[in-house]
Amino acid sequence: MSTKRKVLIGLLLYFAITAILILVVGNEGKNDEFQPQNEFLLTPWIAINIAGIDFSITKAVLYLGLASAATIASMTFIASRMQREPNKVQMAVELAYDLTRDNITRGNIPDQKLARRWFPYLAGLFFFIWFSNMLGYLPLPTNTEHKVDIFGLAVPTLAIYAATANISIPLALALVSTAIYHIEGIREKGFFKYFASWLPGGLEDMNVFGKAAIFSIEAISHLVRPISLSVRLFANILAGHLLILFMAGGLAVLLGFAALGALTFPMAFAFFVFEIGLVATLQAFIFSTLTAIYIGGATAESH
């Protein structure tokens, strides 16, 4: 049988299953009881309230702790048992280490002293975001809204969530990165000289108003940097989780249209592979690369 026919038969089967399900099950109408979007709801598990600020322990806190623990534990474990002839895990970690050192840090910060100073932060950023993203695709029993009975034990149902799918964690990381590059720039050049260096070169002949206009545009671009840095990571991970959730059955449940599930379920696998294979690593890489670029740009001799 030729490949073309195999593909055709596969596609036909795919649509036939959907068509049969439409005929058998039909449309049950809109469902108002079960709300899949509650997957992202943060219910306080242990309510803590200090001086009017909510410090409650929620799902996000658990994932944050897990990601931090995984980062520290795996890195120290591998570092403590380094071998001359590395096994596969050590090889992979050494490869990632080389990526963070040579590609992310040294490739974007030309000053070697500065690169050595900020390499631990950039590498930590990369590994923390990577572990946080990857943990997000591991189903963990965290959905306390619905319990499932396993041998008389009420266990929360499996759910996926990531610390980085919550705006506050990427925002905190982005604000730290922003503060670092401003401080590093001021330390390198002095307070007024640093802000003067925001103006691009080649404007010596321009009058004051033109310079002020360009300076305000540059100031806006510096203000937008933490927002774009945090929203990029947060929206990528949130959209990935939403896509997996809706494709894996959320859409069918929400619309009460079971046949739709057969059509969307294979897409959930495709998105899952895409998210794990590309987006999780790429976003960690982008976040730390951009931080390094900002530090390098703030301390560069000429703009």
Binding site: S228, V231, R232, A239, L282, I286
Partner: protein, 88 residues
């Protein structure tokens, strides 16, 4: 005009939530157009450059992923602003 009559009848049941959903869908969809074109240009140019100078392949690879992620994020900005409009 006869074709529009059912539409007008259906429109009498329009709710605020329905309009917001439509707005979210249109906004996110229009936003994706630009990002899609941008990603296409990035990969196309990268293939072109590698075809011209294959020895630069490794160097271009990291730049390509940087450009891809920056462009892809634009689609998500529209999505997030759509969600903000939807929930406010």
């Amino acid at each position: 005009m006869d074709v529009l009559l059912p539409l007008a009848q259906a429109a009498s049941g329009v709710t605020d939530d329905g309009l917001k959903s439509i707005a979210l869908g249109i906004g996110a969809g229009l936003g994706s157009i630009g990002a899609g074109i941008g990603i296409g240009i990035i990969f196309g140019k990268e293939i072109e450059s590698v075809a011209r100078q294959p020895e630069l392949k490794d160097e271009l690879q990291s730049i390509r992923w940087l450009g891809f992620a920056l462009t892809e994020a634009v689609a998500f900005y529209t999505f997030i602003f759509g969600l903000i409009a939807f929930f406010l």
